[in-house]
Symmetry: C2
Subunit: 147 residues, 2 copies
């Protein structure tokens, strides 16, 4: 129960703090950043919109809205699937790759320093381990940034 309350609070505060920085420095929302990141780690920089939704813990409609913005910004583009006319892939553009690279440096730094400010390396590791057991952890395509 304490765990629950703290999970909520820790996420809310850290997210708020980091989102502000990301927005200020690169004009990206957290969700947008994560979308770019997830795409960059995917086969060919593309993903079905449904899969993207799952990875971002969003509903399909949320993805549609999110991608509206990213497409308008030219960071992502739509690519049709030739074996199934229903699906459209979200494809990372060159601009998207670049944007992500610019942003990721500063962002991962912020994340890291935020955590290291409060926890030791082994504790962070332990935390990741425990959180990984909760629902929402990915089975494959695990989000796992370079180091």
């Amino acid at each position: 129960m304490r765990a629950w309350a703290r999970l909520m609070r820790a996420q809310a505060t850290t997210k708020r703090e980091l989102a502000a920085g990301l927005q200020a420095q690169h004009g990206l929302s957290m969700t947008a950043y994560e979308a770019l990141y997830v795409l960059s780690r995917s086969e060919g920089g593309r993903l079905k919109r449904v899969e993207l939704a799952e990875r971002l813990v969003l509903t399909p409609s949320g993805v549609t809205r999110l991608l509206e913005g990213l497409e308008a910004a030219g960071l992502v583009e739509r690519v049709a699937c030739d074996t199934d006319l229903r699906v459209t892939y979200a494809q990372l553009t060159d601009a998207g790759v670049e944007k992500l690279e610019q942003a990721s440096c500063g962002h991962t730094g912020s994340v890291r320093s935020l955590f290291e400010e409060h926890l030791g390396d082994d504790e962070i590791e332990q935390l990741a381990e425990l959180l990984g057991k909760l629902p929402g952890a990915l089975d494959e395509g695990e989000v796992c940034p370079r180091d």
Copy 2:
């Protein structure tokens, strides 16, 4: 970094799941529930709006909006402060107390079973410990439901 990603994902998924139940069974949003809870644990069942905002990780305006709803539902009422005309307390009503009691039983049960489904007791304890070190953990007035 993995810790970060997982913190986001774990919170998003668990929150979504539990919020649905709470809404369906008692017509309360997670935030509303937590507000009632925090108030119930406070001196006299009341709190300055600013303090409430801090505890809920919300902005003052968010609190105003939230309380609009709770006041309309008669679960909370405004009480003026006689030493400082600027402040208005949010005061839990009898109806609010009752509502909270109804909801808390089922809700804490859901939370507990969600966690116990994935983690052992000692792991939960450990998780709470680690999360408590991150920013957002309360120094006083700790959110800490009866067991």
